[in-house]
Symmetry: D2
Subunit: 345 residues, 4 copies
């Protein structure tokens, strides 16, 4: 059995991780750490575990003291908080999977510019592997520090990579208009996340300034071998879960939607969790699963391609992909513990 520890276990991504690890046949969770709920029973915070998980949340100090007992540490904390515990864990031979942003960007300078905090783990950036599983499996197999991708980047990079790898779109033409459920804002007591403030409304936010922008650009640049810059606009949608990423690019050549669908299916043919639809995705069909649904349309009149991808932001966009990466890092079947289909309605 793999022994795991979770830091930040009471946030929404952390809880989703608990959900998957609880039923994972090859993992035991050794501790649940929480900043806000240390010393409280986990199932008091999340009553869905009543009768299942009897553990008491521990604080960070206790978590650090238990690092030597575990094989893998999952970190689900706000950016800027992962540096110290990551170093300690790695020094003890514990593999680290960070669901936060601290090791995703290869450039310390870009990180500091977009996140506005000092990067205190620069020496680890070289060895950190960006864990968008489908695009990076080989590196993941042998990595010790995995930077789990952000939710918007996961949906967006999966949607655009086949086009860029095949040089099918003008890399300067990319516009990404993304929509997220409210769980993306986390479990913090902010007025802006109240039911009454989010329900029955939609808004754009962080226009031209969202922190996932450089992460998407870094990976699309890798795919295209060009320096890609995109316009990225996230929106907040009144639903708990789900990301829909609507991606626009100008085609470099005449190609039909059918041809692109075939190309995408070939591109992702070994990827269990990626489904290329004939039609268009809806977030409900992936909610609760680790799947990414992708639909492709061509606007012949304007010579643009529109790729729409849907994921569950807490699963393929966070905890599910983290488990998928853990499976690879520990030599397990990639799908272990993740074979769940969306529940409708």
């Amino acid at each position: 059995m793999i022994k795991a520890g979770i830091v930040g276990s009471t946030g929404y991504a952390g809880e989703q991780l608990v959900w998957f690890l609880y039923k994972h046949s090859m993992v035991n969770v050794e501790f649940y750490s929480s900043h806000n709920y240390a010393n409280k029973p986990y199932n008091e915070i999340y009553n869905n575990y009543y009768g299942y998980i009897e553990d008491i949340c521990v604080d960070m100090e206790t978590a650090i003291s238990k690092l030597s007992n575990i094989n893998v540490l999952f970190i689900a904390m706000p950016h800027g908080k992962s540096f110290e515990i990551t170093e300690k864990a790695l020094s003890l031979g514990v593999k680290v999977i960070d669901l936060g942003a601290d090791f995703r960007l290869k450039s310390k300078e870009v990180y500091e510019e977009w996140y506005g905090v000092k990067h205190e783990g620069e020496e680890l950036l070289g060895s950190a592997v960006y864990g968008l599983t489908e695009l990076n499996r080989e590196a993941i197999v042998k990595c010790n520090l995995l930077a789990n991708p952000g939710c918007f980047p996961t949906a967006t990079i999966l949607a655009l990579t086949p086009l860029l790898k095949n040089n099918l779109i003008d890399s300067s033409s990319i516009i990404v208009d993304a929509k997220s459920g409210v769980s993306g804002a986390g479990r913090s007591a902010n007025i802006g996340s109240l039911f009454t403030e989010c329900n029955e409304s939609i808004k754009a936010y962080a226009v031209a300034s969202h922190r996932h922008t450089p992460e998407i650009e870094q990976e699309l640049s890798n795919a295209s071998k060009e320096n890609v810059m995109i316009t990225f606009t996230p929106h907040l949608v009144p639903m708990n879960r789900g990301i829909l990423s609507t991606c626009y690019g100008t085609l470099k050549k005449d190609v039909t939607a059918e041809e692109l669908i075939a190309l995408y299916r070939e591109f992702y043919k070994r990827d269990y969790f990626i489904k290329i639809l004939d039609g268009l995705p809806e977030t409900r069909w992936v909610r609760g699963s680790n799947l990414c649904h992708i639909g492709i349309k061509v606007d012949k009149r304007t010579k643009r391609v529109i790729v729409v991808s849907a994921i569950d932001n807490l699963i393929k966009g966070a905890a599910g992909q983290a488990v998928q990466n853990m499976n690879i890092m520990f030599g397990l079947e990639e799908t272990t513990g993740l074979e769940i289909i969306a529940m409708a309605p």
Copy 2:
């Protein structure tokens, strides 16, 4: 492997059944029958199965022709539609689990009065077993025709039976105020079920006339050995899933909430899916699971007990309980294929 057929597989209860049977380790589904979608691929109606289920829906005639290939038939159709296929299936030695109302009431007359249609399977009523699993396990083991309980009855009977069995409340004092998500109305194209007609509103409906009333009364009468009549008021709540049943009764003796909690825990001590909380249930903590959460409060000032139970109407209130009953009918572990925890948020 158990070979199963599903009639009415594209309604919400039918689809939920598909969901559980698809991943059930001991079941193969031999056919998916649908009145409205015969000859269409199942995964076109429910895109969550894209890449998983490749079957084409069959019509009723085809379903009937395949009865001899299966061991168990699940029926998820409107009331009044189950009689013919049930008789045929039973005559071929196929066990039948009917998620509809046709075999729940022991009295033909009561059925005809409340449902307004003729009962065409009277001779089967004697052998039909009411499948509220926790209260009826022994009879379920050997039954061939299982009447799976309604959603409101499941939540309500589980909430009230311990009180009545222990003669703790006045059986003429019971009021049940229940709340259901919109999936309870089924997947029919009715104006009243439109998003825009249900969202941002709550209403009571079928006051003093809902068809689940005699079903609840039948089982509570069994429990109390008295002729119980209740006032039952269902409400429609703007959410997809979930039933919350708030049950009121006048206490016959002084008893504290703590004593009742202990009594309920003892009563349900062998029942994996029933969880007696210290606090109060919320439907989100059972959504997506086969659990029933129960909370108990005593109003000392008015000498009433308030028992609140929460289930997922499509699971413990329909398909999950059907699978639970199938497990018992076929000698499997009761929880097989049902070990799923609610996903939050």
Copy 3:
């Protein structure tokens, strides 16, 4: 023109008051006071007023200094906060309409028991008038201190008073099962009010202990000339606005729903805002209005009456009724500024 001041103008009830007073033809608002947003433009907090209200929120100290400029003070603050400013306002001849709970209960002891704070305005309790307009108009005309009713009490007392005044139900049999939208929880940054915590779920809360219980009992006791005790259970529903109160009582005599509907229509015949339906109410049909819709059913089998009432909790349950009362206190037509019909969907 009536000059008004609002203390607590940035909570949901306060904002709703701003909405009605802004367009009220006979009122000028002299100041908007806010604890959390002092010195911020009102329209930055509520962007719906962008281009309409240019005022800057003031703090309590400033509000107090401006009392001599106004004719009426509206207070929309948490309980226990109204005593000091109320006394000051009254001493300056300013009429006070308190939307909070501080002057609703006639008994200091009952207030202190249920609210858990000391009552510091006992000497004002005698002159405070309980402002359930339809039942108390004469006293409202000449009052200086109006205690505006709570949201659950408004819906519930309007639903039950005709029965009690006519001695039609056993006053010890009353059970009130009420459902509220999330705005009832106010605009505070609590985890429990987050979109992700409320959406797709329903729960009961404060069972047998909600603070609106003694308020309802006080007024029902007045109506029945008996000491009424009720069982009151509030529920939280995933919608912004609306209260549905489902009220149960045991009938003392044989009476049909039709007879009761006629009786209610007679009882409320002079009351513009009370509509007795032939069918059942839904909160959406009163949302955004000052109306109360009431539907009545009789359960012949159990000899109970079920009265269901619907209001908009922020309007008839708070700010709308406050304006209705102000209109009466200042000799205006009762409906002035309140003639708004619910907007559907």
Copy 4:
């Protein structure tokens, strides 16, 4: 008083029209026509009018027979249904305001291509005026046949016209990613509009093929004096009301967001219903109002401008704008009966 008739009064746009006309000080509604609800009381379909509107819905034949009694006919019907009654009304000197699509496009051919039906009123196209009020007031004053704009076009054209009129963006670069509440799908009993199918999900639909595309292009071409083609992608959002249109264009020159905000404010300075924000719009702040909120951001890195506009689809996107246009056509103050502020939450 203006005497009005409404055809299609029981759809969502029709009902919204009823709402505004009921309280309009200068209008009497002479008949409410409905295809599905002829001979039923209007307030049975929409209970919010219980106690207000006592009229019975009439059928089309009756509506036509009453044309000679009215001054203005509002048509709120599906496309292809307006031709006959429009001709009859105009021939009787009745002004016509069509909320549908039949007279919006100047080209019969374009209409027939996108809508797939024959245009049977070609001779009227020359005199029909496109009623995007703010951009077309002079023509509206004297028109007899007003084509009321679509909901997506209203939000989008208002957002982009100032840029195109000032030659600030490359007219071939425009991408419009729009989001609509479910009321945009109308009050038809379709499975796809059920609560359970829309709630907790977002999807794109009609990608590169939505019928509002040529309407937007026609008006943007007028503004830019170029032949504009756009990529337009509508999305369905789980909320009742609201459109958010996120519009992208490549800037032709260096310009800051502040400069653009100033330019927009100048452009719309005489337009009561258009509010240019410092920040970004949210649909909740315009819900229930006839306002259009617009926010502007510049992505310096990619030299694109992002203009986000928000309207209530049933008001500024349908019935409110229709009343605004009627006011102008009849010489009334443009804002008469439309001075309503969004209600929050």
